[in-house]
Amino acid sequence: MKLFCVGISHHTANVETRERYAGLRSEAALRQTGGCQEALLLTTCNRVEVYASAEQPVATDEVIRILRDSGAEEAERGEAFYRYEGEACATHLFRVVAGLDSMVIGETEILGQVKKAYEGARESGSAGPLIHRLFQRAFRVAKQVRSTTDITRGAVSVGSVAVELAGKIFGDLRERSVLILGAGETSERTARALSSRGVSDIRVSNRSFERAENLAALVRGRAVAFDEWTAQCREIDILISSTSADEPLVTRQLLAPMLRGRADRPLFIIDIAVPRDVAPDVNEIDGVYLYDIDSLQAIAEQSLAMRREQTAAAEKIIADHVADFAARFGQGSDTLVPAASSVLSDTRMRPSEL
C-alpha cells in the first residue's frame, strides 16, 4: 500500500490560491472515486494537504481533480501542488506537526489543527490503520520535539514578547492592572494580548479623552483623564506608553518618588512610542523593567534565531522517527506497507485508539 501526500502550502501558493481549498471535505470522494483506501484532508490557513494510502498509484492530477470537484472555487493548474511518497510523506508530516514547516517556525497551533483533521477522518472512517499509525507517530514526534528542544520557546512578535515578559515578571496576570498611555494601534494590540491572559483592570489615558474612551471600550477598560496618569502610576503594574510626545513623559525624577513604598511590587513599562516616551534611565530604578520597541523587537528576533538554531535537533528527532516508522511499515523509500501483524493488531484496537 502506498502512502502519499499531495498539497499546497504557504511555501508554494499565495493566500488567494490556498483559500480556494479552505473548508473542503473530500475524504469520502478520495476513497470512493480516487482509488484511495485511506484519506485525510488537512486544511489550515497556510496549507491544504491530502494524506492518503492506496494499493495502486493515485496521480497528483487525480487528487487535484477531486479537490476541485469537492468545491474548490477555481481551477488550479497544479504547479503549486507538491507530492511526497513513503518516507518523504512521513518526514513531511512530522515536520508539519513539529512546526518546522510553518510560517513562524515552532508555532504550536498547527498541532491542534492536525489533531482536529485526524479526529474528523477517524470519525468518518476515512483514516485506516496506516494513517492511524502515521498520525499517532506524528503526535509523538511533535511532543518529543516540543519537550526536548527549545523550538517553541520565546515569543516572536512585539505584542507576544510583551505578554511573555509580563508573565515572567508577575506570573499570574489576572490581578494586575495596566495603564495605556496614548491610544495607538500597537498599544491596543498589546492591551488585547494582555487581556487575553486574564488582565481585567485596564485603564486608558490619552490627551483626547474621547479617544481614550473609545480604546477603553475596545479593551473593556476605563478611561482616565490625561492629567491623572501620573497618579495612576502608584497603583498600576504595567504601563504601556505610545504617545506622540516629543520629549519623554516618564522620567526617573517623576517616577522614583511614586514608587516609594512599593519596593516589592515591580513595574513593567512597555514604551512603544517613537520618539520614546520613557527616559532610558528609568530602567535603573529598582523593580522597574523598561522595554522600548527596539528591545522588544530584538527579543522577538532573538527568539526566532533560537528557534532556527533548534531546527537541526528537531530534524534529527524526525529522521530517527521516520527511520523507525519505515522499518516497521516500509518496503523501500517510497512505499510504506503495514506488516500483516500490524494491520491485524490495528483492527483489534480499542475505539479510543482509533
Partner: protein, 263 residues
C-alpha cells in the same frame, strides 16, 4: 559501609550536576525530572548514612563538624524535596545539587571526621536543638538558592539579555514569594532551635550565644525589611545569599567553640 553510603550519595549529586552542565553545554537548558530523582536517591543514601552513624553513636549524628555538614547537606536536600514540587522542581534542583555536592565533598575531603573517645550521653533537648537548627540551615540554604535564581532572572530582565534558562525559570514574583516563605520557615525553625538551646542543661558558651543571636538578628532584619517594604526584592535576594554564607561560617565557628558539641 557508612562511608560507601555517603560516597554513593555524593555520586548522585555529582550526576545531577553533570547532567545540568551537559544540558547547558548544548546551549539549551532543559529542566527534567532526572535531577529530582538523582537528588531523591542521593537523599535516601544520606538518610541511610545518618541512620547507620546515629545507630553507632546511639544518638542524633551531630557530634562533630563532619556530621554537622552532612546533616546540613541532608537538610538542604530534605527541604528541596519537600518544597521543590511546589515550584519548578527540576530547575531548583539544578541550583540545589551543586550546593549539596559542595558541602558533602568538603565534608568528605577535609579531616574533620574526628570521633569522640567516649560515648556521648543522650540529651533529647540537645538533639532537638541541634536538629532544628540544622533543618533551619537547610531552609536558609534553599532561600539562598531561590535568591540566586531570582538574581539570575532579574539580571536577564534588566539587561534584556534573555538566555535559554530565562524561559525555564519561574516568574520573579513567584521566586520572591518562595524565597520569603523559605526565610520564614528557616527563621521559625531557627528560633525553635535557639530557644530549645536554653533547655539543654548544658553550659552555654558566650561566643556561641553571640554568633547564634547574630544569625537570628541578621535573618530577622531581612524579614523585617521585607515586611515593611523597605528592601527591594533584589536586595533581599542578595542578602539571603550573604546571610547563608555568614551563617555557614558562624556554624563553623560555633562548632569549634561549643563545649556542647565537643563534649
Amino acid at each position: 559501609m557508612e562511608r560507601q553510603l555517603l560516597l554513593g550519595s555524593t555520586l548522585c549529586f555529582l550526576v545531577a550536576v553533570a547532567h545540568t552542565l551537559a544540558t547547558l553545554r548544548e546551549g539549551v537548558f532543559h529542566p527534567r525530572r532526572f535531577n529530582f530523582f538523582a537528588i531523591a536517591l542521593g537523599f535516601a543514601l544520606q538518610s541511610a548514612f545518618l541512620y547507620v552513624r546515629g545507630h553507632a553513636l546511639g544518638r542524633c549524628p551531630i557530634t562533630n563538624l563532619f556530621e554537622v555538614f552532612i546533616f546540613l547537606a541532608w537538610s538542604v536536600a530534605l527541604i528541596y524535596l519537600a518544597i521543590g514540587p511546589a515550584y519548578r522542581l527540576s530547575l531548583m534542583g539544578a541550583f540545589t545539587a551543586p550546593l549539596v555536592l559542595l558541602i558533602q565533598t568538603f565534608a568528605l575531603l577535609a579531616p574533620i571526621d574526628i570521633r569522640h573517645p567516649v560515648r556521648l550521653n543522650v540529651n533529647p533537648w540537645l538533639e532537638f536543638h541541634a536538629s532544628m537548627s540544622m533543618i533551619a540551615y537547610g531552609a536558609f540554604a534553599l532561600a539562598g538558592v531561590a535568591g540566586v535564581m531570582y538574581l539570575v532572572q532579574e539580571r536577564q530582565l534588566k539587561t534584556h539579555q534573555l538566555h535559554s534558562i530565562f524561559y525555564h525559570l519561574p516568574p520573579l514574583t513567584n521566586l520572591f514569594s518562595a524565597l520569603t516563605r523559605l526565610l520564614w520557615l528557616g527563621f521559625a525553625l531557627y528560633t525553635a532551635g535557639l530557644v530549645s538551646g536554653f533547655f539543654t542543661g548544658e553550659p552555654l558558651p558566650r561566643v556561641k550565644m553571640i554568633c547564634a543571636f547574630a544569625v537570628w538578628i541578621f535573618y530577622g532584619s531581612i524579614l523585617q525589611g521585607r515586611h515593611l517594604h523597605r528592601l527591594a526584592p533584589k536586595r533581599i535576594a542578595a542578602l539571603c545569599i550573604l546571610a547563608f554564607s555568614a551563617a555557614v561560617s558562624v556554624l563553623w565557628a560555633i562548632n569549634f567553640v561549643s563545649q556542647t558539641h565537643r563534649s
